[in-house]
Subunit: 192 residues, 2 copies
Amino acid sequence: MSNGSLEVMQNVSANLRLARQQQGYSQERLAELAGISRRMLVNIEAGESNASIATVDKLASALGMSFAEVVRPPPLADKELGLPLRIWQGVQDDSHGSLLESVLKPGMTLELWRWQLAAGDSYHAEADALGCHEVLYMLDGQLELLLPQQQQRHVLQAGQSLTFALDQVYSYHNPGLVVCAFTKSILMYPHA
Amino acid sequence: MSNGSLEVMQNVSANLRLARQQQGYSQERLAELAGISRRMLVNIEAGESNASIATVDKLASALGMSFAEVVRPPPLADKELGLPLRIWQGVQDDSHGSLLESVLKPGMTLELWRWQLAAGDSYHAEADALGCHEVLYMLDGQLELLLPQQQQRHVLQAGQSLTFALDQVYSYHNPGLVVCAFTKSILMYPHA
DNA sequence: GGGATAAGTGCAATATAATGCACTTGTTAT
DNA sequence: ATAACAAGTGCATTATATTGCACTTATCCC
């Protein structure tokens, strides 16, 4: 039994207590379901126990939650997310007729961009971090996407979308005769 | 010491070992930095230890990782994400001149929708789960967003975006004389 | 070969997580 | 008031996480 100074412990205790009460269990009932002693559950909910992974996992299962849900900090308010609480006017980066516009403030869990590529224009990107994914959604025109490491080539038309992992090299090309437009969502660590 | 059957333990051992090697630490060095014994680290990396929250947290800190990063399962492939690996043609749900199109397969970590609301049209939604957030991005026309619980009203123009939490009632309204179009991203549990 | 570093094993000692029980407190219902 | 249930406390006991040390194995370098 250690003091409850660890942030993770505080998350665990708060999440467990909230979930237990929402599901209408008493401490005794939940302890029974999880196969641990009520004394232990009291300590954990009080944030006074440095529980083991297995014990926390038993409680998560008994409540129908994943381990990650029990451990994670409580949901954040909009402003703490780094996402615009108020209206956000996109930042534009214009270069030779093409347009790269950040719809959201970059660098957070979700990025959202609006791109326009001039006819015949191309863009090449290096591999990024494992666990990041990109979602393309075509608004106008057409776009050719090359994934050389997968030996794939896709041509997207307006209204179509495509997702791929960002831990690989990729490049865009506008094969059409008119400008194309698409949104580009980047999702970091999309896990349950 | 228990058998390493617990999925969480396997994630911990794999993530720790990978991070340690990437940062060029020996087991001895990392144990020293984290303030635990090398014997314990050996057990954890072997998946043979039911470690306590505090011990895992010490290791995470020593490696400059968050607790969640150490505990989470390895990144998933595209298809496991439920996101379309190949091109996905949106599903349309047309009703009285307005258009609701799911750009991605719904129900996953990230949903992406394209909406069109006819002039004067409205849409009302009840409160959803805590921890979900919505990102609106205006493509054309204008949209009025009402958040009665926050006593807020926003009017969005093309090119603007706005984020709000989905654990509250909200409604859309197209106040203009022409159809408006926007994308709507729904993000579940956006945490580090 | 010999020496050095990194990783894995076995085992006894120690610290502490986890249990079980008795008890108090507060609330709700009859 | 009494009964009944849920939650919190103190403490001795038990189980086990964590430590420390000695030892093996493998690899790399001189």
